[in-house]
């Protein structure tokens, strides 16, 4: 170990450079140890296995192995009707099912040329932003858990629980909503639901500050994350990292602004980006803090959406749902939406029958995870935990 300490790894060195530097020391240290991190490991957020080649605690090479949760979503969908698939998209990223629903439903609507009313769109925006909030709470909370802080996790779970209660009132599901349909929604809003959303927003005021002072700006937490596992903007784009991971690297990129759908262009919100406040741009802390800041922006959108809905006259949310989908337009389409984890794309091929011919889900976590083996050389095992948490993967989506 003593020789290893002498390598002065410069801040911001590319992983390639680090691995080169490490290669030179290989002979000195001789044998490497292979450690299997996962599939049953608390920090891998599910059933991910990472094969680590380590020298002491320093990682020389990391190979992620996925597929432990593979259930062939794409094959299953080929024997489901267009509307039934919605129930399956819930289970991709089980932390943000409304956003999955939205991605699929919008892709189908664009393909079949179905127009939905403004009210339906606003409700969709409201529900998916609430779910984004819930998903980010999980991401932030479990990240604290990875770093060793238990309490913020349970505080955030507590706030998330209120959102799930709202969902329960809305559509009966808490985690897996199955709320959207091609052309509409399953239920209209219940009585007083918008008022409850307003109450929730006022309840949440100041709660994120508490999380910030308890966790985000805690010296130990900052030390653990600053300058660790830097993923530059260029690398993010190359490896297909999107969403908060890309924004954490300093790129102002959000599909809600850049390729607006569902009328997102009419909402007033900002895109938070990582600015290297405590370390280098694109380190773990930046990716983390972007999520915290996004929560505030989501709350702004929710507030605007509720205000609009209160003014809007009620109409039938089921009106545009096609009565029969046995014969649809053939063709293929790729449509992407901004998911809490990144860019969720659905590539749909239809041959005009009642089942999708081919449905490919471009899962954000899948691409995000592929960057791991490029970033990890030179990290310590504890940093590896920080890296996995910071790119915020959900294995249900990686393995599909």
């Amino acid at each position: 170990m003593s020789e290893i300490r002498e390598i002065d790894i410069p801040v911001g060195a590319t992983p390639q450079k680090i691995s080169q530097m490490l290669e030179n020391f290989e002979d000195v240290h001789g044998e490497r140890m292979v450690v299997q991190m996962g599939p049953q490991h608390p920090a891998t957020h599910g059933v991910l296995r990472v094969e680590l080649e380590t020298d002491g605690e320093m990682i020389m090479k990391a190979t992620p192995h996925i597929g432990y949760l593979h259930r062939c979503f794409e094959k299953t969908c080929e024997s489901m009707t267009w509307q039934q698939v919605v129930a399956y998209t819930d289970r991709l990223d089980y932390c943000s099912s409304a956003n999955n629903n939205l991605g699929y439903v919008l892709a189908c609507e664009k393909m079949f040329g179905i127009e939905v009313s403004e009210r339906v769109q606003t409700i969709r925006v409201l529900v998916s932003e609430l779910n984004r909030l819930a998903s980010h709470f999980i991401a932030i909370g479990t990240y604290g858990l990875d770093i060793g802080a238990w309490t913020p996790f349970l505080y955030l779970i507590q706030e998330r629980e209120h959102i799930l209660d709202l969902f329960d009132r809305l559509c009966g599901g808490r985690l897996l909503l199955n709320y959207m349909r091609i052309g509409g929604l399953t239920h209209d809003l219940p009585d007083n639901w918008l008022k409850e959303v307003h109450e929730y927003l006022s309840y949440m005021e100041g709660k994120l500050d508490e999380v910030n002072s308890l966790l985000s700006y805690n010296k130990i937490f900052v030390e653990r994350l600053a300058n660790v596992a830097i993923i530059s903007e260029d690398m993010c784009i190359k490896y297909g990292l999107t969403g908060p991971n890309l924004r954490g690297a300093g790129k102002k990129w959000d599909l809600r602004k850049n390729e607006p759908y569902c009328g997102y262009e009419t909402y007033d919100f900002d895109i938070p980006v990582g600015d290297g406040e405590v370390g280098t741009i694109g380190d773990c802390w930046d990716r983390y803090i972007v999520r915290v800041k996004e929560c505030e922006q989501s709350m702004r959108i929710i507030k605007q959406a509720t205000e609009r809905l209160e003014k809007m006259p009620g109409d039938d949310v089921l009106a545009a749902i096609p009565k029969s989908m046995t014969k649809v337009a053939p063709g293929e389409i790729y449509f992407r939406t901004e998911h809490p984890k990144g860019e969720l794309g659905f590539y749909i091929v239809s041959n005009g029958k009642k089942f999708p011919w081919r449905l490919k889900c471009r899962a954000p976590s899948f691409s995000s995870l592929s960057v791991m083996s490029a970033v990890s050389p030179g990290l310590l095992i504890a940093d590896m935990v920080a890296l996995i948490g910071s790119i915020d993967i959900v294995l249900g989506e990686v393995d599909r």
Partner: protein, 170 residues
């Protein structure tokens, strides 16, 4: 830049690539010969007019006649998109040159497409299965796929617990 414009430029640069523009689709698709895909991709990424710096999605598709690989490209710089398609008949294996050296994200997507469709990617740095176990037989997303009965003595067909006790697994 619109897709027909891109198509015209590409056709000039790659006359032997058998480029076809499929227009009967919501978004037009440029179809190319398999062998030319890597060269076209390299040009699309590096040419400053195109600069398709991100590969949004890479998917294998099986149509009635053929296997295909479909590339959805996007340029963050110019905000334009293009879809490429490489296809080959079902009689022989579809072999496509890898683009993982051009967009590293293609690495895993190509592995997935190999895993589920059996499309081979030449020069791929890590041509293993990704989602399924290494010793799996068959390519599940093919339409004529027949699942194995057992895998390492694990029964792969659903067991109806009402009808029979889950006693023997042989």
């Amino acid at each position: 830049m619109t897709i027909p414009e891109i198509f015209n430029i590409l056709q000039e640069k790659f006359p032997e690539a058998e480029l076809v523009l499929e227009e009967n689709n919501p978004d037009p698709i440029i179809r190319a010969k398999c062998e030319a895909i890597a060269d076209i991709s390299l040009l699309l990424r590096d040419d400053p007019d195109f600069s398709f710096d991100s590969l949004m999605c890479l998917s294998g598709v099986e149509t009635v006649e053929e296997f295909q690989t479909v590339y959805h490209l996007y340029s963050m710089l110019h905000n334009h998109k293009v879809t490429l398609r490489a296809g080959g008949t079902k009689e022989e294996e579809l072999i496509v040159p890898t683009v993982s050296h051009i967009w590293p994200t293609a690495d895993w997507h190509e592995r997935e497409s190999f895993d589920l469709f059996g499309i081979k990617y030449t020069d791929h740095p890590d041509p293993r299965r990704i989602l399924l176990p290494d010793d799996w037989v068959g390519y599940p997303l093919r339409k004529d796929y027949e699942p194995q009965k057992t895998w390492h003595k694990i029964p792969l067909t659903a067991i109806d617990y009402k009808e029979e006790d889950n006693g023997d697994e042989s």
